[in-house]
């Protein structure tokens, strides 16, 4: 505690941060954004489009995390925390999606369609229960 206090009171020395890598990452991110938009205009199979779209997003996100968020060279404890998160996120994705897909045959899926410019806003659903007896 005393050492910490001493540290805290010492004048802060300027530290030079090299910003050049950030600029490269920035350029990379911009290119990837353009790429992901372009890819979406190709009429590939939906699964391929989804896969490529998410792959590019993952690359972009990891660029931001690695360089902007300084995950590169971060303490092990942060890696551990994010690793744990990743495992649980994977479970959270895997189980409900598996369940929903496995249950496709037992559900009546609907087609979600967007009609252009509806004439009026839909009436609010009458959801409340009727007055209680």
């Amino acid at each position: 505690m005393t050492t910490a206090t001493a540290q805290a009171r010492s004048p802060i020395a300027p530290q030079h941060v090299d910003v050049k890598p950030y600029m490269y990452v920035f350029a990379g991110l911009l290119c990837l954004t353009v790429a992901t938009v372009l890819v979406s205009y190709f009429d590939w199979s939906p699964w391929l489009t989804i896969f490529i779209g998410l792959a590019i997003a993952t690359v972009k996100a990891s660029l931001v995390a690695t360089f902007f968020m300084h995950l590169k060279g971060e303490r092990v404890i942060i890696y551990g925390l994010l690793g744990l998160c990743a495992v649980f996120v994977a479970v959270l994705f895997a189980i409900p999606i598996t369940d929903s897909q496995a249950n496709m045959g037992r559900r009546q899926p609907i087609a979600v369609v967007v009609e252009e410019a509806k004439p009026a806003a839909p009436a609010l659903p009458a959801k409340a229960l009727p007055a209680t007896p």
Partner: protein
């Protein structure tokens, strides 16, 4: 024919379906094991409390060595028991009850459509085909929204809070719900399955004993949850056929849902 409810009392109700015995076997086995574990454990616990109570001049003994195996020993026993249960009981029986279904051709196929707070049953009639249903047609005189213009619907029988099943033949039930989640529970058959709106969940059961049984809702579904009761009538195949025939001439007279005062 005179049908009666079984005597309901304390303990498991009469086992009246083909797989009820399998479920009871598990419940009994696990409870015997639980009692055994708890009693042995309780004796040991009481012994420790008496043997190692504080006495003047007797200090506590620190253990000088620690054997992790020792503290994991009860675990090993529990684990072996559980692995056995999973491999030889839970997975096979589960797969038989919930994952394999009788062929619709050999089964008595019905739709059960739950609503707040009634069980509607749709029988396909002699043509073996269910008539179309639509939410827009739902009316108090037509609780399941049966489309009477559909040829398949002409001979359909719709009943409320009454399910008939023949003996010696599995009944394949398509569970559906109109509004919220309900749960289809016939204690004597050891059958329970949630009815989820937007889903058609198949369950099957083969009764082994003629009589009346009770169907209750096991998932909170609103203020009338505890009133959601239906009667299950298990008849001999001949009686069942006769009953079904007696229903046909008046298919339009669908039963009203229970009036609960709303």
């Amino acid at each position: 024919m005179n049908l009666n409810y079984p005597k309901y009392g304390w303990g498991l109700p009469v086992a009246a379906s083909t797989y009820a015995r399998d479920i009871d076997f598990g419940i009994r086995l696990i409870h015997y094991a639980m009692f055994a574990i708890f009693i042995l454990w309780g004796i040991f616990f009481t012994y420790l409390l008496i043997r190692y109570r504080r006495r003047d001049g007797v200090p506590a003994e620190r253990e000088h060595e620690h054997h992790p195996i020792k503290s994991l020993m009860p675990d090993l026993i529990v684990m072996v028991f559980e692995i056995g249960l999973i491999a030889f009981y839970a997975i096979p029986v589960w797969s038989r009850i919930k994952q394999t279904f009788p062929d619709p051709k050999d089964a008595n196929e019905i739709n059960v459509i739950a609503e707040q707070f009634a069980w509607n049953v749709q029988y396909p009639g002699p043509d073996g085909k269910f008539g179309k249903r639509s939410p827009d047609l739902v009316h108090f005189s037509n609780p399941i929204g049966l489309d009477r213009s559909d040829p398949a619907a002409k001979d359909d029988v719709v009943l409320a809070n009454e399910i008939h099943m023949p003996l010696g033949k599995p009944t394949l039930i398509h569970l559906m719900s109109k509004d919220v989640i309900h749960s289809f529970f016939i204690p004597s058959f050891r059958i329970k399955q949630d009815a989820v709106p937007g889903m058609d969940i198949p369950v099957w059961v083969q009764p082994t004993r003629p009589g009346l049984y009770e169907l209750s809702c096991a998932q909170l579904c609103g203020f009338g949850h505890s009133l959601m009761r239906a009667e299950v009538v298990v008849q001999t195949p001949a009686d069942y056929a006769a009953w079904l025939k007696s229903q046909e001439p008046a298919p339009a007279a669908a039963a009203q849902p229970q009036n609960l005062g709303f």
